[in-house]
């Protein structure tokens, strides 16, 4: 690898460490640690929210997918973008008005029960860790490819950095790393898009004309159907993409970093512009790669197309742009995994330790200490799992995480806010059934089973035909919540503080205010 690449990578690492150092001085209370003191502006949080979604999977993965299979690679973009609209309309403001540090806080604002809190925390941990393993395995592979270092070394470097950001800088460092990365990624993509578009003579028509002959799909590259032949499976995938966004814990806790629901709403609105612009640029990058890097060359470098974006940078922008885009991709991986560490640590330290085990009788100091220990524990566990999963195809885990978010979290969150009759038993059964059915159906799916040896994790026929079970599990989540509610006895289950939740979620009364510094 070149001196230039090393300089840029080291530059990124130093920049993030400076941010962490500055943030550590501001991280004095648990509120600072979990929510950056609630002091981000709408633009800052909008960028950070966008950053959470402009992951390595979307930058490298979607560019690669569009370059290799055309339109079918684009669902990831549009589905997720639409998810943000759904999030904005139904979830973001109640989340800000009802919660404090975690997703469980929001649900327990209606049902103050340990069972409900514990279930929500478990769902948060499962989603975040699945998501993190997918990111670490994918990211580790890419960094090892870009830097020419061993996979294990790449994972360990990412693991150590993410742990440092979180334990010293908490949410403040995590947010600023995310913001800076979002700006770098948008800027880098813009330059690359401009160069690609110039090579197509600034004509979209010309671009579509040229890609017709650039891949084995011929003119079909511009049409849907090159990857998803099973309609039900594809619609199921789209359900996970649209509905999953509104249930992802690491995204939802971002709304606690702003002072009120108005700012939360504006931050999602801004993020739809950032993400939308980014996803549109990715189309140019994808087709640019097909035309100028070459379909065969992309497949040769990485069968799922993950190297398409860096290779495109090399071909249209030379060594500097290649080094820059690789460094940005590295920053992207770092920023997303640290957000996931923080989310898991807060579910563990705040929900499970602070509220369930210690019943809230815990000092600020103790709580911070536990949160830091939990961060290290989560990071070490994820690193070990990522090392063990090196040779497994775990890309499906990030869509699985979205599917669980859509099936376990979303139904219960919506019913908590909008259904008067809903009760605590229903909240638990809804989450448990949504979570367990998603995991079991994926374990039985073609992601894990393939009759051809080596094509999936296990060899054999899948018992469940769809790769994405969301079309089954979202209704199951709702049915679980409904049956749990109507079948439980009135004595054992409480309908909770519906009136209070309704009033607070609509007016923002009693919102946990940010601290003054």
């Amino acid at each position: 690898m070149s001196v230039l690449s090393i300089l840029l990578f080291v530059g990124i690492i130093l920049l993030t460490l400076v941010i962490t150092y500055l943030s550590s001085k501001k991280t004095k209370s648990t509120s600072d640690f979990y929510t950056a003191g609630g002091g981000l502006t709408a633009t800052q949080n909008g960028l950070a929210v966008a950053g959470d979604f402009m992951s390595a999977a979307s930058f490298l993965g979607i560019t690669g997918a569009i370059s290799l299979i055309g339109f079918d690679g684009f669902y990831m973009s549009i589905g997720n973008l639409l998810g943000f609209l759904f999030l904005m309309y139904l979830v973001a403001e109640p989340m800000r008005n009802l919660g404090k540090y975690t997703l469980a806080d929001m649900i327990t604002s209606r049902f103050p029960s340990d069972k409900v809190r514990g279930t929500a925390a478990a769902s948060t941990l499962v989603i975040s860790i699945f998501y993190m393993i997918a990111q670490l395995v994918g990211g580790g592979g890419l960094i090892s490819l870009m830097l020419g270092i061993d996979y294990w070394m790449a994972v360990v470097i990412v693991g150590i950095l993410m742990t440092i950001y979180v334990i010293f800088g908490g949410m403040t460092a995590t947010s600023w790393v995310q913001i800076i990365k979002a700006v770098l990624l948008l800027g880098g993509s813009f330059v690359l898009t401009f160069l690609v578009f110039a090579k197509f003579d600034f004509s979209i028509i010309q671009m579509f004309q040229q890609i017709k002959t650039a891949s084995p799909f011929g003119a079909e590259l511009a049409n849907p159907g090159n990857k998803y032949s099973n309609g039900l499976d594809m619609i199921s995938l789209n359900m996970a993409l649209v509905l999953g966004v509104a249930g992802l814990p690491h995204l939802l806790i971002r709304f606690f970093t702003v002072k009120d629901a108005v700012t939360a709403r504006k931050s999602v609105f801004y993020s739809t512009w950032f993400i939308g612009a980014f996803f549109l640029m990715v189309v140019f990058l994808g087709f640019g790669a097909t035309a100028f890097v070459g379909w065969d060359n992309i497949v040769a470098a990485n069968p799922s197309g993950n190297m398409a974006a860096p290779m495109l940078a090399l071909s249209v922008g030379g060594d500097f742009l290649f080094a820059f885009i690789s460094a940005v991709a590295f920053a992207t991986i770092l920023a997303v995994v640290s957000a996931l560490v923080l989310t898991s640590a807060s579910a563990f330290a705040h929900d499970i330790y602070g509220q369930i085990i210690k019943k809230g009788n815990i000092t600020e100091k103790q709580q911070m200490k536990v949160a830091r220990i939990a961060s290290v524990a989560v990071a070490v566990t994820s690193i070990l799992l990522a090392l063990a999963a090196q040779n497994l195809n775990v890309a499906f885990l990030s869509v699985l995480a979205l599917g669980i978010a859509a099936s376990a979290n979303l139904p219960v969150m919506l019913l908590t806010i909008y259904w008067k009759r809903f009760n605590s038993t229903g909240a638990v059964t809804g989450m448990v059934i949504g979570l367990i059915s998603s995991v079991i159906l994926v374990l039985l799916s073609p992601n894990v089973w393939n009759p051809e040896a080596g094509a999936a994790i296990l060899t054999g026929d899948p018992l469940f035909p769809l790769a994405n079970p969301t079309i089954v599990t979202v209704p199951l989540g709702f049915i679980g919540a409904y049956l749990g509610t109507v079948l439980s006895s009135k004595k054992s289950a409480s309908t909770g503080r519906f009136e209070e939740v309704l009033f607070k979620s609509n007016t923002g009364f009693g919102i946990s205010a940010p601290e003054e510094h």
Binding site: F71, F74, Y75, I78, G79, L81, L82, F84, L85, F86, M88, Y89, L90, I204, I205, F208, Q209, K212, A219, A222, N223, P224, G225, Y228, G231, L232, M234, I235, N238, V242, V262, R265, K266, V268, F269, T272, W273, G276, F279, L280, R497, E499, E500, L502, F503, N506, T507, G508, F509
Partner: protein, 115 residues
């Protein structure tokens, strides 16, 4: 809703009469207005979105080249971006009115809310 009724119901958490607050005309009006906008719009954009994968999976209409070599699939997908931005913008604008209504509620019932 009369003050005296509000003060009678003190059974809620922290003595704040949420039961009666959510039955005040102002609050019911706020919720009604929000629902009458949010629910139909959400239904609209979800149906609009899912018609894309449905058409892609079960028909060939999106394979038609509409503008030069650009197929219907890409045009329909671009429209999804517009829908997100336009619906987002309308929601932000509409919400300013809801924000004013909820501020008025918090102001009018500040005694009941213990402020």
């Amino acid at each position: 809703m009369k003050q005296s009724i509000l003060l009678e119901e003190q059974s809620d958490q922290q003595g704040i009469p949420y039961h009666s607050l959510i039955k005040t005309n102002e609050f019911e009006e706020l919720v009604k207005r929000k629902k009458s906008f949010i629910i139909p719009t959400t239904v609209f954009f979800l149906i609009f979105y899912f018609s894309l994968p449905l058409l892609a999976a079960y028909t060939k209409v999106l394979h038609t080249e509409v503008i030069g070599p650009i197929t219907g699939a890409w045009l329909f997908a671009s429209m999804q971006f517009l829908v997100v931005w336009i619906c987002g913008f309308i929601y932000v604008k509409k919400s300013e009115k809801y924000d004013n209504l909820s501020k008025a509620i918090l102001q009018k019932y500040r005694k009941e809310l213990g402020e």
